[in-house]
Amino acid sequence: MSSVPRDVTLPDPAEVLNAHSIEEIEEWMTRYPEDQKQSAVLAALSIAQHQNQGWLSTELMDAVAAKLEMAPIAVYEVASFYSMFETEPVGRHNIAICTNISCMLMGSDSIVEHCEKKFGIKLGESTPDGRIYLKVEEECLAACAGGPMMQVNHAYHTNLTPERVDEILDALD
């Protein structure tokens, strides 16, 4: 799919993405042929999401579309398809507890319960202060040997116990 001419006015990427993000996105763009800029869309969305403390606003996605010369809807499709992207505001720390089969057998339910109690929110919700987001994890995170496990801001933590969880999460700002 090549770039698609559009009628919509998209924001100037430089006004929405910060210099650091733009630099990183441009670095990714160099890895693909000139006429296949859209190949960098996953990387660009991660970078944009990171800049925005964990979620993608429509404006950010539009800026990515403008940067990669894509139709904005094509960017929305990607962002809404992958579970690593959040398209609604969420807490700035992304906590994903694996509840797939191996972790479940190793007691992930109690880890979930512990976290829900600890923050007073359900899976899929964020704390009102915007600090913590308990993500609903859909699939096995490929660390079955260390279950139960979780990802905190995409970093792996294995062999969890409630105490270990407290230690990790209390260290967050």
Partner: protein, 811 residues
């Protein structure tokens, strides 16, 4: 049997097929029915619905017919128990999440899902769990959505990407949560968006204006021809009792394939507008009052009958979307009354080099040929908005690698990638074309005063190279070129460039029947069939500048059609008499006409339209015109009788068409005629600020102007003064501020709009708008200043004798 033909067996029948063809194409051609949802012959293969599963011998499982290429000696069963079971299974799954709301669904009765479910579904569902619900987002006044019904066939998504070239709809989310939509609530802006209504196999996308107004099986269907652009798209009109309920495309590969523009689809919504006239009107003192036909005709005859010696003070202006028959009768009547003054070129300003006018401006090729060009240069053309279906075809050339370049007074929206896009102030178009002509090494001996040092850029060279190297290339002139003050020079340069590069000169006729108007002789210098007129009359600009004492207006709304509406209004005010054949009342008509004879509109009358490719297409009326309104050809017949003119006793409308045909038997289409007079090179203007503009897509003719859904769509909102940021800053205004434009005393106030597509030194102020009917010509020097009082909503011109409130609002 040639090398690329194979034989396959389907349900026991031996069928020839081409190698590489998909099975479904072969079964379709043979009339064997394979159910399908996602497959569409004009779209890429998605193979995502699995409805078309068939049994192929030696294959381990059923295969999708839409994505299975034929193989030699393949044996296929579409009705075997394996195939039937697979089809039934797919059907059951498709219905799991589909609401059973057929009784309140507009698609009911014409629904592919309903049909296939009847043939392949079970009478009961095993599914008892909750169904998925999708909340709708508003995507504009033309398309209604009910996305819970969507079966994710992605036809609409592929249409946007592959055909329209504007990716607006997409499939967001995944799995159970996939939704088809725009993601954020916003109006779709494609000028061909309505086609998704037809290709959607379910009731997820339906026509908003006609929603909930009739059931499919209550409607009658009549073929017709859309009169809004020079494509002449073939349509079917769906009729509910005596009113038009919907207009949909009718397949014609040589014209519109299977698509139509939104303008052709939704214009009918203007048929019952409050300005529609349903009885003849005559002026009594100051006021127009309803009357009967015979008194109206008598009044019209009194105005039109010349006193001895005054024959030539009659000027006739006929709008170029009129039927061929109306155009022909208008000139016949005018000339019969002894006046040579007839013209249809209401929005043209440059009439020089009349000898170089082709007998009929035409594409220089057939419409499908637009798909196989190697290179093209579009000059003064907003093709996507002016001839949307031609743009779809041209896009196919672009996708196949053709280099398509444009020279325009604004950067126009495109649905393909342009090779070069040169955007200059309107008064520099000639300079650009001249540079191209120099780059191409043209003979420019007929052009005087051209600069010796043309600035040839690499862009110019690239364009010339592409035209030269392409086996099939074209230099195309569009609506903006036709309305340009140096129209003849642009045409001359286009001819010379085409000659030097071996390209075709391609003219895009501006309106629905511009080509027909030329053939019918609705020009002052030529009669029917293009033969030189015995006596050359005045052109539209001269007539509308007061060149006549008495006027006959046919379908013409000078407020919107005239190049210089303010001057035209003055001319009509000063006239001794004005007779109009019209369907709608417009401000100047209401204040100046002595007699108005109400005539039929699109779908209501017999008529022939000649399109850009020179195809004559005749259509019959599908519904009766409202009230006392009558088809234009009949009105001419009785009017001629009241005037005592001979030669109007046609007993059928076909007899009129035949008379025009006879006049056209020796017509040869040729865009390469030369004039013998010289052209003066028009230098660019010193003026710091100019007005540029065009007639926007939904202001082209009276019916379109009154279609509320079109007016409410994104393209319908055009009452702005658009300019780029530096122009905006130079007048000290911000977006949305009132800005006054002054054209030698003619003024209008419009809100400023930021638009970087507009070149420097230019304010883009469209013509054809209610808000700009007080202005002069669309191209020219102006002064603009911040401030002024913004006009309110356009006022409806009340039709005497009719209670208001006829406007049927879109739901």
């Amino acid at each position: 049997m040639s090398d690329d033909t194979v034989n396959i067996t389907v349900d026991g029948r031996t069928l020839p097929a081409k190698k590489g063809q998909m099975l479904i194409e072969v079964t379709d051609a043979a009339g064997i029915n394979v159910p399908r949802f996602c497959y569409h012959k004009k779209l890429s293969v998605a193979a995502n619905c699995r409805m078309c599963l068939v049994e192929v011998e030696k294959a381990p499982k059923p295969l999708p017919a839409c994505a299975t290429p034929v193989m030699p000696d393949m044996i296929v069963h579409t009705q075997s128990s394996l195939a039937r079971e697979a089809q039934q299974g797919t059907m059951e799954f498709l219905l799991i999440n589909h609401p059973l709301d057929c009784p309140i669904c507009d698609q009911g009765g014409i629904c592919e899902l309903q049909d296939v479910a009847m043939g392949y579904g079970q009478s009961a569902s095993q599914y008892t769990e909750g169904k998925r619900v999708v909340f709708d987002k508003y995507i504009g006044p033309l398309i209604a959505t009910e996305m819970t019904r969507c079966i994710h066939c992605t036809r609409c998504v592929r249409f946007g990407e592959e055909i329209a070239g504007i990716r607006e709809l997409g499939a967001t989310g995944r799995g159970e949560n996939v939704r088809i939509g725009t993601y954020i609530a916003k109006s779709v802006v494609s000028e061909v968006s309505g086609n998704v209504i037809d290709i959607c196999p379910v009731g997820a996308l339906t026509a908003r204006p006609s929603r909930y107004s009739a059931r499919a099986w209550e409607l009658r269907q009549q073929p017709s021809i859309a009169p809004h652009d020079s494509i002449g798209s073939n349509v079917s009109v769906f009729i509910d009792g005596s009113t038009v309920n919907q207009v949909v495309p009718r397949d014609n590969e040589s014209v519109n394939e299977v698509w139509i523009s939104d303008r052709d689809r939704f214009s009918y919504q203007g048929l019952r507008h409050a300005e529609r006239m349903t009885t003849p009107l005559v002026r009594e003192g100051e006021a127009l009052v309803p009357t009967d036909w015979s008194s109206a005709l008598a009044r019209a005859a009194a105005v039109l009958t010349p006193t001895p010696g005054s024959e030539a003070d009659l000027g006739t202006l006929v709008a170029p979307h009129s039927t061929l028959e109306e155009l022909y009768l208008a000139q016949k009547l005018t000339r019969g009354l002894g006046s040579p003054h007839i013209d249809h070129r209401l929005s043209q300003v440059d009439f020089s080099q009349a000898k170089a006018d082709p007998v009929m401006p035409w594409l220089g090729m057939n419409l499908p040929d637009l798909e196989t060009l190697n290179a093209a240069l579009l000059v003064g053309s907003n093709i996507r908005k002016d001839q949307p279906i031609a743009a779809l075809r041209l896009r196919k050339s672009a996708l196949a690698g053709a280099e398509i370049s444009l020279i325009n007074p604004k950067r126009v929206p495109l649905n393909f990638e342009a090779a070069e896009q040169i955007t200059v102030r309107y008064d520099r178009l000639v300079e650009q074309m001249h540079a191209l002509a120099v780059a191409a090494g043209c003979d420019l001996s007929a052009l005087e005063g051209a600069p010796g040092d043309a600035q040839v850029s690499t862009q110019h060279q690239r364009i010339v190279e592409s035209l030269k190297s392409g086996e099939r290339s074209a230099v195309m002139l569009g609506n903006l070129a036709a309305a340009h003050p140096a129209r003849a020079t642009l045409l001359y340069l286009a001819r010379q460039i085409a000659r030097a590069t071996n390209a075709t000169v391609s003219l895009l006729p501006e309106r629905g029947n511009t080509a027909g108007a030329w053939l019918a002789g609705a020009v002052p210098h030529r009669g029917p069939g293009g033969v030189a007129a015995d006596r050359e009359g005045s052109n539209a600009a001269q007539l509308l500048a007061g060149g006549a004492r008495r006027y006959l207006l046919v379908n013409a709304e000078t407020d919107y059609d005239a190049a210089s509406p303010a001057a035209a209004a003055q001319a009509l005010h000063d006239a001794d008499g004005v007779v109009a054949l019209a369907s709608y009342l417009s401000p100047t008509l209401a204040s100046t006409a002595d007699v108005i004879l109400p005539i039929a509109e699109f779908t209501e009358t017999f008529g022939t339209y000649v399109n850009a490719a020179g195809q004559w297409q005749t259509t019959k009326g599908a519904v009766a015109p409202p009230g006392e309104a009558r088809p234009g050809w009949k009105v001419f017949r009785v009017l001629a009788e009241a005037l005592g003119l001979e030669g109007f006793g046609f007993d059928s409308p076909e007899a009129i068409t035949q008379e025009v045909q006879r006049a056209c038997t020796s017509v040869e289409l040729n865009n390469l005629l030369d004039a013998d007079d010289k052209l003066e090179y028009p230098g660019s203007l010193a003026a710091p600020m100019v007005r540029s503009g065009e007639t926007p897509i939904y202001r082209t003719d009276p019916l379109v102007r009154r279609s509320q859904p079109l007016q409410k769509s994104t393209d319908g909102k055009q009452a702005f003064m658009s300019m780029n940021a530096s122009v905006l800053a130079s007048i000290g205004a911000s977006e949305g501020d009132a800005v006054t434009i002054d054209q030698g005393g003619a003024r209008a106030v419009l809100p400023a709009k930021l638009d970087e597509a507009i070149p420097d030194g230019t304010v883009w102020v469209p013509m054809g708008l209610y808000e700009t009917r007080t202005l002069g010509t669309v191209f020219g020097e102006v002064t603009v200043s911040q401030g002024g009082e913004l006009p309110g909503e356009p006022a409806i011109t009340a039709v005497p004798g009719i209670a208001g409130g006829q406007v049927k609002e879109a739901v």
